[in-house]
């Protein structure tokens, strides 16, 4: 039975950030120094920005970042009346990681929940070191997280965590995909019998298939319902799709998952049946096909039918 998750999540990429855990070590007060017509140093703009980015995004604390940087902090940053240069740039340093944790925490809520705050933060720190954002949007920051988890030695239970992350990634992708009017429910059944074998079913863009070694659909639902997440081993096949701007998860049988996968890959219905036969050593039964197409059409998974 499909499990619905009408999307309500916030994926805003505002840049306001809070400063917490900033180590404000004893301050040497100094008078603020307003700009003067002559610069106090000659660092050019490009070098300054490279320097500041290296400090702000450094995986250690701001003091370690400053030690490793190519330019001394005092060469670039002025003190304020209350903060030393290192403390001032430290504000940006602390906000950077908070922003990454917050962004990935929104996209990977269930994963963050099962890992706990501390482990999730460690994971994010390691992840953004290897996969820093290269996009103007934070919405795609987490695209490589399942792959990263699969190879990460930081975590126990990596297979379950990777599967759960893969499901959550599929949900964020489906959330953002282009909207397409689905075919009416009876469109597939109205194909002329002689044209069925050569017909190609075009899926809606907002559709992803996820196969997992654990029942991550149940694990995700448990998180949604604020129940304890209990990893349960068992092959699971899920179609994640969007309908009326809500994201849904539909569990599938292994056979249905394979057949739908062939269609999504662009195979005609006829060649999908042939490939199914190769895979399972049998043809799909007529009532199987009927049920699959009925359920998939009702869920709005198809955008068009192409008939040669």
């Amino acid at each position: 039975m499909p499990l619905s998750d009408a999307e309500t999540g916030s994926r805003e990429s505002g840049v306001g950030g809070r400063s917490k855990n900033l180590d404000l070590r004893p301050t040497i007060f100094s008078d603020p120094r307003p700009p003067t017509p002559d610069p106090r140093s000659e660092v050019v703009l490009g070098a300054l920005q490279e320097w500041m980015q290296s400090v702000v995004t450094h995986h250690g604390d701001v003091y370690e970042a400053a030690e490793e940087a190519s330019i001394g902090v005092e060469t670039v940053i002025l003190p304020s009346a209350t903060l030393q240069p290192i403390q001032r740039v430290g504000i940006y340093h602390s906000m950077y990681m908070l922003r990454m944790i917050e962004a990935l925490g929104v996209d990977y809520g269930a994963l963050a929940n099962i890992l706990g705050e501390e482990t999730f933060e460690e994971l994010v720190r390691a992840y953004v070191l290897r996969f820093p954002s290269r996009s103007y949007t934070l919405n795609r920051l987490g695209d490589a997280l399942p792959e990263f988890i699969a190879t990460s030695k930081l975590l126990k239970g990596r297979v379950f965590l990777r599967d759960l992350a893969s499901l959550e990634l599929a949900m964020t992708q489906v959330f953002d995909e282009a909207e397409t009017e689905p075919l009416p429910g009876d469109a597939v059944s109205s194909i002329a019998p002689e044209q069925i074998a050569g017909a190609r079913i075009v899926p809606i863009p907002a559709l992803r298939l996820v196969s997992a070694d654990y029942d991550v659909n149940e694990a995700f639902q448990a998180w949604r319902e604020e129940r304890a997440i209990k990893p349960r081993r068992g092959k699971t096949w899920i179609a994640v799709h969007r309908r009326d701007y809500g994201v849904f998860r539909m569990t599938l049988t292994r056979e249905a998952f394979a057949f739908l996968g062939f269609l999504i890959a662009g195979e005609t219905i006829g060649s999908a049946i042939t490939m199914f036969h190769r895979r399972f050593r049998r043809l799909p039964e007529q009532n199987e096909l009927f049920t699959w197409f009925r359920d998939w059409s009702a869920a709005g998974l198809f955008a068009a039918i192409e008939v040669d």
Binding site: P39, Q49, V56, R88
Partner: protein, 307 residues
């Protein structure tokens, strides 16, 4: 009226996900909405749907956080193409972003990182603003950021830098009076001097917001009501500039829509307060050729909508 003839839209509120249901369901009596560009550029899902529905009823302004106008990486024309298409689809009245950079070497830190204020930065940024305005076919509107550091390479104040940038690149200004207050606290300058120095005819919009005062510094968190000192700055700005499109930003710990809107409406008390004869600068900067765009507001909007 600013020199671009961008209209005074009244008092608006930032469009935020948590308010989508309320806005679509109740259609509140709000003058206009500002949408964060990047939240709608790459999605065909519910956020884009909601924005387009809101745009059917309310004027929309697009406000970006990733243009990186001061950055030393090349401008991202893929980003600009998407921004322009989004602006067209929602008939954005204008497009703004921040005087900042957001990353270099292909990376994005997703923060509004500060610029050093000197001749090199000015030349660099003005050139990029001109390119962006040409590409978007509308004057870019540049916002003063909050900042937590000052650079040893700066040779001018932020307000002088902004005034020169605006003159050099013919851009509009989004005056964030909360940001002025935050930076004035962090850098120990008089915020009134800042407000008084801004070329009034360049100001297209004003931002209001709350912040967090940590004693030694203030962080621009957009998570609270506007403090009295910021309202006072807003009043000073209105007296200089005249009535100008004003927007309340609330991005964290966001309360219900009516609370945010009620906070924004407090701006009414300060509008209509322009002092006669104080809109111009005593140094004559406001006496330059009055405008580069003599179109009437409606014509300007129509022209932009047709981009």
């Amino acid at each position: 009226m600013n020199r671009f003839n961008f209209p005074d839209l009244g008092i608006g509120v930032g469009l935020r996900t948590v308010h989508f249901k309320h806005i679509l369901g109740s259609q509140p009596d709000v003058d206009w909405f500002e949408a964060l560009s990047e939240n709608y550029m790459d999605t065909g899902g519910r956020p884009r749907y909601v924005l387009e529905k809101v745009a059917e009823r309310y004027p929309i302004v697009l406000h970006g956080v990733s243009l990186s106008i001061g950055g030393t990486d090349p401008l991202d024309f893929d980003y600009l193409r998407k921004l322009k298409a989004l602006a067209r689809s929602v008939n954005a009245r204008w497009i703004s972003d921040h005087l900042c950079w957001t990353g270099v070497s292909g990376r994005n830190v997703h923060d509004l990182l500060p610029m050093p204020y000197n001749a090199e930065s000015l030349r660099h940024t003005a050139e990029r603003v001109k390119i962006v305005s040409d590409f978007l076919e509308t004057p870019l509107v540049v916002e003063n950021p909050s900042s937590y550091v000052e650079f040893t390479t700066s040779t001018m104040t932020e307000w002088d830098f902004l005034a020169e940038l605006a003159a050099e690149s013919d851009c509009g200004l989004l005056l964030d009076v909360n940001n002025i207050y935050v930076s004035s606290f962090n850098h120990s300058f008089d915020p009134n001097v800042y407000v008084d120095a801004i070329p009034a005819d360049r100001v297209v919009q004003v931002h209001l917001a709350g912040h967090q005062n940590h004693g030694t510094h203030i962080i621009d968190t957009h998570n609270d009501f506007v403090i009295d000192e910021v309202w006072s700055l807003y009043g000073r700005a209105c007296a200089r500039i005249g009535d100008v499109s004003t927007l309340m930003e609330w991005d964290a710990d966001i309360p219900d829509f009516e609370t945010v809107h009620a906070e924004a409406r407090k701006a009414e008390a300060f509008r209509g307060s322009r002092e006669s004869g104080v809109g111009g600068r005593s140094d004559g900067l406001d006496q330059r050729e009055p405008t580069t765009d003599n179109r009437q507001p409606d014509e300007a909007e129509v022209a932009y909508a047709a981009v």
